[in-house]
Subunit: 394 residues, 2 copies
């Protein structure tokens, strides 16, 4: 008897996770099995909360490909040892033989631990991971689907905001805070905004380089002088000082607030600039917009997301298990590969140091050459009544 397949999504959403689900569903329908999606990631499996997606219509499937966020919900659940038995119970109830888990490095750890447990109890259930992050911090894959679209959105909106910021003949320091707790790939995408028309951003701060207040103020002062009082900065939310502590407008400075989250790097930098250089400072936190702006997603990224989803089903149906689908950069474009889950789990890829021009607070040409292919092409999002039409199943 053929076994069924379940997919689940995990961690922070992106503009193209659902494109991976599209790829998984499209490929899995070639087999005579039932196809389930877990609601809210592994939590849905723990709670017997699966949806039967076997008969999804073509039109819904097409909407799914271009919809942002996680159409079946997501979670940030760290598996406890006692969870494994419950998972197998759910798998047995739905006759699951194949489990495809879409997520980042935490989720790859979850998938690997589940694989080990399955081996230990001598069961035949295959587990494959599908990469997804906007941070692009998974190792052993050329990039992570989700990053290309976030990078394209950051490049586009930083270019647009650069034009907006310079519109008056007045001083203005603009600080755009982008995501990335450990890796500077998203901040690096700000560099793509510059061209022969738009000369900003001027300075980019990466989490890989310890942040120093005095160096920062020197950078801003120098740029401020050289550029008639106009400075445009892109900063990663994950900036840390030389002791490895995250930079934020701290409790000492924010003590009246108690539980009010002060946000971090952008407000901290504003504080430094207003105290030392100019009161005219604007902070823009790209916040969740950068990970869900599916209307402006990268076609290359969307296609890669579909590809890794399809490849996961092909591999799992071939009996492969305990691996993550990777993306290989070949002369023929991006191709799907495999990497053992144990070689991805809980590891973090940083922006290579040779891609950072730390003297100029910028990136090197190698970084540009790496990013450009990931942001090529525009998706054809379906519009109804002037607004993108999306779908979800929660």
């Amino acid at each position: 008897m053929k076994k069924n397949l379940v997919l689940a999504q995990s961690g922070g959403p992106t503009s193209v996770i659902n494109a991976s689900c599209y790829g998984i569903i499209k490929e899995a329908r070639k087999y005579e099995i039932k196809l389930y999606a877990a609601k809210f990631g592994i939590e849905g499996i723990l709670q017997n909360n699966l949806i039967d997606m076997t008969n999804i219509s073509e039109s819904d499937l097409n909407l799914l490909r271009y919809s942002p966020s996680a159409a079946f919900g997501s979670c940030r659940h760290k598996l406890k040892d006692e969870d494994f038995e419950k998972i197998i119970e759910t798998f047995d109830k739905y006759q699951i033989g194949y489990f495809v888990y879409i997520g980042g490095n935490d989720s790859m750890d979850t998938a690997h631990r589940l694989s080990e447990y399955i081996k230990k109890i001598g069961r035949d259930i295959k587990v494959i991971g599908v990469p997804k992050t906007i941070d692009n911090d998974l190792v052993n894959t050329h990039f992570c689907p989700g990053y290309g679209s976030a990078a394209k959105y950051i490049a586009t909106s930083v270019r647009e905001m650069s034009l907006d910021a310079d519109v008056y003949a007045k001083d203005i320091v603009t600080i755009v805070e982008v995501m990335g707790r450990n890796s500077g790939f998203l901040a690096a995408a700000g560099a793509l905004a510059r061209d022969n028309v738009v000369s900003s951003p001027h300075l980019i701060y990466f989490p890989e380089i310890p942040f120093d207040e005095n160096e920062f103020l020197n950078d801003v002062k120098t740029t401020f002088k050289r550029n008639n009082g106009k400075v445009f900065i892109v900063a990663s939310e994950g900036l840390k000082n030389k002791d490895g502590n995250y930079i934020y407008l701290n409790e000492q400075k924010a003590d009246a607030f108690g539980n009010v989250q002060m946000g971090g790097v952008g407000h901290y930098m504003r504080h430094l600039v207003t105290e030392n250089i100019t009161k005219r400072v604007k902070v823009v936190e790209l916040s969740i917009i950068q990970r869900c702006a599916a209307h402006a997603a990268s076609l290359a990224d969307n296609e890669a997301a579909v590809m890794v989803g399809e490849a996961a089903v092909k591999k799992i149906m071939d009996g492969v298990s305990d691996i993550m689908i990777s993306i290989k950069n070949t002369d023929n474009g991006f191709e799907a590969g495999t990497v053992p889950l144990s070689e991805v789990a809980n590891r973090t890829k940083l922006l290579p140091s040779q891609w950072i021009d730390s003297k100029n607070r910028w990136v090197t040409q190698d970084a540009i050459d790496y990013m450009l292919p990931l942001i090529q092409g525009e998706v054809k999002v379906p519009y109804v009544n002037g607004i993108p039409k999306y779908i979800r199943f929660i």
Copy 2:
């Protein structure tokens, strides 16, 4: 001898001011005159800082149509009486007989006062205003170019963020702060995000309705209960209490910060919710992104911006002066009309009270019917290397 024409842009930029410049330039090139653009609005005229745009290439002109921000720069200069003489000096130097000023209600006041001055000194220089605001707060015009694109961007990104916000099976109150100091048209656009798939936003707060803390907390508590702990709010930056004072996280609550701009409504609402309902609150300020996201501009809005630019040149060449081009809503679509500058200057259009459903913190169908035609169609922004290609001349 034919007289020359100068255009200038004023106030906050939009995604389609430059489309009006495109319309002006395209139309003006049919006449054998020189065509100038003032740098940084009226300041460029005061400082003899004009650029000759007569021979702009077709490809640059096309880029101009789709570029955000003000391609020649803008200003927020309130004209002093002694400025008028200086303006006429510049006009004489460049043999200017026609002045087209693109801006909001302050700029229409500037244009009107200049017209009056010209009449007083008995000169023959024509002055016409072209409407532009994202706030949509100009009277005597069906809408203002700039609003349609901002509304489309707000509707799109609120829909995308709504999908993102609900992704975990957990409580979350999301607050999106949009622009609009006096008029709630931008906040109203949040209502367009709802459809049969996306049930949020749940609550919209307009500057036209006095803000009351207790009512707000009741609204949020009720929605929180009814909707499993998920609440999505759109709030105008211009909310005021019953005494007419702007709502913001005030100095008493923010006293440790001194000059740090605490931002306003979104952070204030977060404070209220974290103190009374849940600590899980996310604030997103759409900030300048909503007025410069030209990659997602409304085609209807862009076309209207071109139309008012062209109409301004036609009228001014016919000898008409001291008027603003308006937009009329006809059975044949949007058409250009005229309105005396004195009937636009310094007046503010508010969201009509019958368009606000204040009990449900929502809009009525009339508001939806008004907004929808303004956000129809997508512009074909030229992409180079995966990023929109823009132009400017400052």
